[in-house]
């Protein structure tokens, strides 16, 4: 029962994580888009990009905004799109920023954005895959007979890989198995989000710092809650060193608690962002050459650019899976360090041999 509740809670936590998007309101902008908008391609939007022949290529997403009016009362506005929010309520669009009416100011933007939609899609796919596969195992396919079908075989390879090489290799044996669902959800979710970014029109949710920070904060909390007495002891009162050294070590250790998830978030974010920008930059060479040397230069460089982009795409598939693995592996290493049981055998050894 508690296990089921915990799973449900974890799933809700994953699905409710919001990516605030206070400033993006490019729906109301009338000016036409530039040919090559590097930051627009990687940035979060209030619309969901689809192939150009449906609804002009954009499906606008709901805006949910908590704001405070001039008298200090908290108000909540919701609309199906930024455009209808500006038309129906008294919100204004000032330099592409949403400004609430009558001297009010924004508190929290709960709007559903394109990156959040891809975040949900990745997590829902991960949950669906795991639940549907676990049903097959309960029926006996895989547990009594060998796994059947391509999907279940791939699933089993990945699951056993996460369990043996990530969880059990880094966390104490009797504790490792309870973290496997968390790691597997993390791995599949991030992998799906990374690979979604390879579709044309799609956005890479993990190329957004708010998404990766949300994931890293989850690892942070799991790490702290699984910390043993030894873990906290090593942070606040490092054993076996003179007291004056502890004055230096304690701040450094406390800092280390926060830098680990920070590095986790930055690593995933920067990897996915750089992959995206690299492809745009190489394709952008076509437009730069066409501008400099005319159409012939543009067509000439496009042969090189497109070939390079194909290679980069293959690399991005690899990097997407590798980064999902690295995020999960480092989460396991951090959790393993916190949940480790020290048996203090070394101290006994020293005591015996110095006596």
């Amino acid at each position: 029962m508690i296990q089921t509740l915990r799973r449900v809670f974890l799933t809700i936590l994953f699905l409710s994580a919001s990516t605030p998007n206070i400033f993006a309101s490019d729906a109301a902008s009338g000016d036409e888009e530039p040919i090559l908008d590097v930051m627009g391609t990687v940035a979060d939007h209030d619309y969901f990009k689809v192939p150009g022949f449906i609804n002009g290529g954009k499906i606008y997403l709901p805006r949910l905004i908590l704001w405070e009016d001039a008298s200090g009362a908290k108000r909540f506005s919701a609309a199906l799109s930024t455009h209808s929010l500006i038309e129906n309520s008294e919100f204004n669009d000032v330099d592409h920023l949403l400004v609430p009416p009558q001297g009010g100011h924004l508190l929290i933007d709960f709007s559903i954005t394109s990156h959040l939609v891809y975040f949900w899609m990745g997590m829902i796919l991960a949950v669906w895959l795991t639940v549907s596969m676990s049903k097959r195992y309960q029926k006996g396919i895989g547990s009594q007979v060998e796994p059947q079908g391509v999907l279940q075989n791939i699933f089993e390879i990945l699951f056993v890989f996460i369990r043996d090489d990530v969880a059990r290799a880094n966390i104490d044996d009797h504790k490792a198995d309870k973290y496997v669902p968390y790691f597997f959800t993390m791995f599949m979710g991030i992998a799906f989000m990374n690979l979604f970014g390879l579709f044309p029109w799609a956005a890479t949710a993990t190329a957004d710092l708010t998404v990766t920070a949300t994931l890293a904060v989850m690892t942070f909390f799991v790490t702290q809650f699984s910390g043993t007495k030894d873990y906290w002891g090593h942070i606040f009162w490092f054993p076996g060193v003179p007291t004056w050294v502890r004055a230096i070590l304690t701040p450094v250790e406390i800092l280390g608690v926060f830098t680990k998830p920070f590095a986790l978030a930055i690593r995933l974010f920067a990897n996915m962002l750089s992959g995206k920008i690299m492809i745009i930059a190489i394709l952008g060479l076509i437009f730069i050459f066409a501008d400099l040397f005319g159409p012939i230069g543009g067509y000439g460089i496009s042969v090189v650019s497109v070939a390079l982009t194909v290679v980069l795409y293959a690399l991005k598939v690899f990097v997407g899976l590798l980064q999902a693995y690295i995020f999960t592996l480092l989460s396991a290493v951090f959790i393993g360090m916190a949940a480790e049981d020290h048996n203090h055998s070394e101290e006994h050894y020293h005591a015996e041999h110095s006596a």
Partner: protein
């Protein structure tokens, strides 16, 4: 000025990360040559360490992108 800073910064970031990952590769290939049966463990440790260096390098790269785009100035 921001563009110049971003260019120089990206160069230094690439230099540092290149030296670091090169040393990991050197160490890993040497130890695999010495002990081919431990290549699986060594490869795991190599990817883990490379990921740490890459994290720092990419932090520098993000700052260079912010500089180049003039965000925050």
């Amino acid at each position: 000025m921001g563009l110049l800073a971003a260019g120089i910064g990206a160069g230094i970031v690439a230099l540092g990360a290149g030296i670091g990952i090169g040393m990991i590769g050197k160490g890993a290939t040497e130890s695999i040559a010495r002990q081919p049966e431990a290549s699986g463990d060594i490869r795991g440790a190599m990817i883990l360490t490379a990921a740490f260096i890459e994290g720092v390098a990419l932090l520098g790269m993000v700052i260079c992108i912010l500089l180049a785009l003039g965000i925050g100035s």
